[in-house]
């Protein structure tokens, strides 16, 4: 059994990312450093929030900003986001879908509430997870994987207990579509009230759960309530969940990348010198241009 290291309650206050994302930040925070939870670097959770309809054509979101040296994974539960980047790519992330963006050697992008969602307003619920790249892959060309609900691996639980959408990694031989640079599991677990679910995760993986909705009892031991975050020790392979009510849980696990991490805002490299170079490259337009 992977024992629970800590259960962290939802942070007291949400922060705004631009004017479109009202997020609770779980990583990095307190004891959950980027090294402790490697390869995950950052976890922001826009817990379900009703945005009012946008008026006068203003779309809420985050304007142009760079990323370099890692991947951003956006998991949309409710609401839609449109994105644009400096290579001319654009698209929409719809509820149930995941965008896996490899920033690699550097990209500029912007993300806004998708127009038709913005006009109506309504519930918005998303996770953004940053995943580190190993040193050898930090300079790959930027690219995307658009992972839709329909192409995720699907595990239907017995007795209609729920389902697991496999975004990355594998569960019982069912694979997720995401190509990852290091071994990673990312599971969207949906459990009906009373359901029991057991999953096996390699012992060396840094592993955590985020309770998106509902409440679950973990390892027949502790209750993880809505919006709490469960960090596991690296001491076993099995995690048991019991849904105390209808629940949605995000499970993330990954093999730690044993390399130095130097973060500065939207850049994550291995040395201070590489950070200075990243800032200079960004300033000089080497990530391209985006209006």
């Amino acid at each position: 059994m992977k024992s629970i290291e800590s259960i962290i309650a939802k942070p007291a206050q949400a922060g705004m990312v631009g004017d479109g994302f009202r997020v609770f930040n779980y990583i990095p925070k307190g004891g959950i450093t980027q090294k402790r939870i490697s390869p995950f670097l950052m976890l922001d959770f826009n817990a379900a929030y009703n945005f009012p309809p946008s008026t006068s054509g203003h779309l809420r979101g985050v304007d142009v900003h760079p990323h370099k040296g890692f991947e951003t994974v956006t998991i949309a539960y409710k609401g839609s986001v449109a994105h644009y980047d400096s290579s001319g790519n654009s698209g929409v992330i719809n509820p149930g879908d995941v965008q896996w963006m490899t920033a690699g050697r550097g990209i500029l992008h912007k993300e806004f509430h998708e127009e038709s969602y913005a006009k109506k307003g309504g519930p918005f619920e998303m996770v953004q997870l940053w995943v580190n790249l190993p040193k050898k892959d930090k300079s790959v060309a930027p690219h995307y994987q658009a992972i839709t609900h329909s192409n995720m691996g699907k595990l239907l639980l017995d007795d209609n207990a729920g389902e697991v959408n496999v975004i990355a990694g594998d569960i019982n031989g069912i694979n997720g579509p995401a190509d990852t640079y290091t071994p990673i599991n990312l599971f969207d677990i949906k459990l009906h009230a009373g359901a029991n679910f057991e999953v096996s995760i390699p012992q060396n993986h840094n592993t955590a759960l985020l309770i998106i909705n509902g409440s679950v009892t973990v390892n027949n031991d502790q209750v993880a309530s809505e919006h709490s975050f469960v960090l596991f020790k690296n001491d076993g392979t099995t995690i048991q969940l019991h849904a105390d009510q209808e629940s949605v849980v995000l499970l993330m696990s990954g093999e730690p990348i044993d390399e130095p991490i130097v973060s500065y805002g939207p850049f994550v490299m291995n040395t201070e010198g590489e950070i200075r170079e990243a800032i200079s490259d960004f300033n000089l337009g080497k990530f391209g241009y985006l209006d």
């Binding site: 060309a141 000089l284 337009g285 241009y289």
Partner: protein, 197 residues
């Protein structure tokens, strides 16, 4: 205060013991984003050393448009010499752009520092010359340089501010329109962006 101590020990001859004496008359302040430290026309007798965060000095023209004179990120000093040293009304407004920790620098501190450590005067003179050099360069660039040259100077002086402040503030500092700054950045990207290499 620790950052200020480190700064002084790195750049000036003030040693640990001397700093301990000076510390008694120093005050640090935590400031929230948006806090106004000085309004044009007021009188003040203090300047600031920025340990953490970001401050700026700016003026407003008759149309209410902001003209940013200086940014002060970590390890920068900021103040209005007109008021501090000439006891005249301040020319600049000073406010906080990012939550900040500052050390309040009084005339008494400068005098005591000189008293305790006469060589501190040399550093102070260096600081003055550096500031004058910077201002001269800035005047020259504002009168004679292209927007691109001004931007290239800016990113050399303040490498990470492009990640910390909106474009319009950079444009205000450079004395160009935000549109002109966008054109500069676009032209640089066209020169340097190699999407397929």
């Amino acid at each position: 205060m620790f950052n200020f101590q480190q700064y002084l020990q790195k750049h000036t001859p003030i040693n640990v013991n001397q700093f301990e004496i000076l510390r008694k008359n120093l005050i640090s302040k935590s400031l929230k984003k948006g806090k106004v430290l000085l309004n044009e026309g007021e009188k003040t007798n203090v300047s600031y050393f920025v340990s953490k965060g970001l401050l700026r000095a700016y003026t407003l023209d008759l149309n209410g448009k902001e003209h940013i004179i200086q940014f002060a990120p970590e390890d920068w000093w900021i103040g209005d010499r007109n008021s501090v040293y000439f006891n005249e009304p301040a020319v600049f407004n000073i406010d906080v752009l990012e939550d900040a920790e500052v050390v309040v620098i009084t005339k008494a501190f400068m005098e005591q520092a000189l008293d305790i450590c006469p060589d501190f005067g040399k550093y102070n003179i260096y600081l003055l010359h550096n500031s004058i050099r910077h201002m001269q360069n800035r005047i020259n660039k504002l009168l004679a340089a292209t927007a691109e040259e001004r931007y290239l100077d800016f990113i050399k002086l303040y490498p990470d501010l492009t990640l910390r402040i909106p474009q319009m503030m950079i444009a205000s500092y450079l004395g160009v329109t935000p549109e002109s700054l966008s054109r500069v950045r676009k032209a640089l990207a066209q020169k340097h962006f190699r999407p397929n290499s």
